[in-house]
Symmetry: C2
Subunit: 383 residues, 2 copies
């Protein structure tokens, strides 16, 4: 298939797969799509290791990296303080009542308590570090030292630093947007490719649906190519997205129930059983509205005992360590932990009902796309 995006990225089928799991990234790239590794959960050293592994697996086939760049990256404040100094300040900024709420939550659900002091110290290494200025810059540098073809910014316009470094390295820059206004800012920031992500998407997401957002963004940024994201898990949805004017699609949720996915088994089970009604847009995991499975976790943060969610990255720091403990305990069969456990996923979770290898998802989407197009041509054939 020949679209602006398949040509830009050197791929056969303009299906981009966002995943935190290197196996999914490599499998999709090797199947003729384009894997994009979500770098937010890694330290620079870990990321380097993951990308080296992917390099070996894909044998020169194209792939990319997605980083979560804080909006303030270009600002001076915080820039002078080193990585660990900034993190101590972040930890100190979490109010005591939030740790207390977390403590009580664990007790109420019968989840063995982690060492809270240790959890506080551990959390930022896992999740908070990269969303500081230095953390994000480090991840960008590590990424550009590998033969990636695309670097994507998941939140807000990429800072000039990122765009400049990527262009020097001959790497295309993509950015996710949830409104036409944001798309305009991304174009001004110099990105090569816009990912228009509808509110039905998993993770950080806005409120405008894919069906409305994609044509709006396509018209706003033309002739820049647009990928459609949000709710897309099948080839007929990919055909729909491209009928809207997209040059390809960006899928995240659909990989979470693949064989390769590192989704915790109890969460994978819930995703396979879930309908499209079982997600909610909640600030409870990162501090920004992010769509995820409804669970006791999302309900409790909205409940009467909740101290309210914090901003990003403070809420991320509070939630990340807790969720790691919850998942660990849930795997032992603890009922309370299973009630609390959740993960980011879009409304298309209702369409994710079988476990397939990631490459099979790509092949199925190629086939379903062709079927959808045949059907459309058949319908309009006769008056």
């Amino acid at each position: 298939m020949r679209t602006e995006v398949s040509q830009m990225l050197g791929i056969e089928f303009p299906l981009l797969a966002f995943s935190h799991c290197r196996d999914v990234v490599a499998a999709v790239t090797n199947a003729g799509g384009f894997g994009v590794l979500g770098a937010v959960a890694y330290t620079p050293e870990q990321l380097d290791e993951e990308l080296s592994w992917i390099d070996r697996e894909v044998g020169g086939r194209p792939y990319g990296v997605d980083v979560l760049v804080p909006a303030k990256l270009d600002l001076e404040d915080g820039g002078s303080s080193g990585s660990s100094g900034g993190l101590d300040a972040l930890l100190a900024a979490v109010p005591a009542e939030h740790w207390t709420f977390l403590h009580d939550l664990f007790v109420r659900y019968g989840v063995p308590l982690p060492d809270l002091e240790k959890a506080k110290k551990a959390a930022p290494k896992g999740a908070g570090a990269q969303v500081t200025r230095q953390g994000a810059l480090d991840l960008i540098d590590v990424s550009l030292a590998h033969p990636i073809r695309l670097i994507a910014s998941a939140l807000g316009p990429p800072p000039a630093l990122m765009v400049d470094r990527a262009k020097e390295a001959g790497v295309s820059v993509a950015a996710l947007v949830g409104t036409a206004e944001h798309a305009r800012r991304q174009v001004a920031a110099g990105v090569d490719l816009i990912v228009a992500q509808g509110g039905e998407a998993g993770g950080h997401t806005g409120e405008i649906s894919t069906m409305v957002l994609v044509p709006e963004v396509v018209d706003t940024v033309a002739p820049l190519p647009v990928l459609a994201a949000g709710g897309i898990a099948t080839g007929r949805q990919m055909a729909a997205a491209m009928a809207l004017g997209a040059s390809g699609v960006w899928c995240g949720s659909v990989w979470l129930t693949t064989e390769e996915a590192e989704t915790p088994p109890h969460v994978k089970e819930r995703m396979l059983a879930a309908s499209s009604r079982d997600t909610v847009r909640s600030r409870s995991r990162t501090g920004k509205p992010a769509r995820q499975l409804k669970s006791a976790w999302t309900e409790e943060w909205e409940g009467p005992d909740s101290p309210g969610t914090l901003g990003m990255p403070l809420q991320l720091i509070v939630a990340e360590g807790a969720m790691r403990q919850i998942n660990k305990v849930a795997e032992t069969g603890n009922e309370g932990a299973r009630e609390l456990a959740n993960y980011f996923v879009g409304q298309c979770v209702g369409l994710m009902n079988t476990v397939r290898p990631a490459r099979q998802v790509v092949y199925d989407m190629v086939e379903e796309f062709a079927e959808a197009l045949d059907r459309l041509n058949g319908l309009s054939g006769t008056g």
Copy 2:
């Protein structure tokens, strides 16, 4: 174009136009689509008059009617009391604090107060009557006395009475759904056609987006045909909906800015200027979540002084008379009234930027549909 729906309804282009305006209904039907008159705002006598007018205009071409049937229609309670008795009971059930809030709202926004006592009495005639048991039955009987081809139920499964009477009259029955679960119930109730309406739609709407809901419902009710609704205002979106498996589309919002539309001029202006971000799902006009233009009205009902919204039809009774007065005053240029005024519309309001005759909207969608299909075929032509 030959789809299950175009054959069922005897039309050329499976574009259904929901409108409260008879001119739009007739224009769309005469342009090769299928107009559906929203009957909720009419008394039985008025509806009879509107349908007689449409009959003369369309010269035998097919059209339909949409009724708002309360879920309790089949239940015994309220059924024995006559229309006016039921309404007095409804009026008495509106708490005094809601009338007080309304009164204060008018004062704060500098909108001349209507005679509150008169407004209370007037409201149900305009809006509440039809959502009582007898009111809905009367509208169904009036509709079936005209040569309609389709009767649609906008809320919940159509009662057995409605399905039976329609089938006797040889009229197809459609029902709007917002989830796959609701679609299953509609199939059980005996409908012929499902309208899967995504959360981006104007008016009463759920939370699952069109991109996800349509394939989910198509798979759930197969081989029953499905129309896609929610966010659709262009031919490329219609192509997208049909790539998802729909046999046609159901559009409501796009007609509100046509030449024929009876949308108040100040509201039409705001719609033409609005972006897709300018709508909100709010209970403030009917008591059920309904997407509409954001305005001071929707904000105030969410605000700190609000007594909270009532259920349906009580909130409808409170809101309808007030909104009529607001619109009347807004037309004189009153700023406060213009801030309060709003109307039901979907996120596709961001794509509605010009005033066109309704027939031109149909012709444009036919052309855009063909262009989208050509584009898709062009993309997939070469590997």
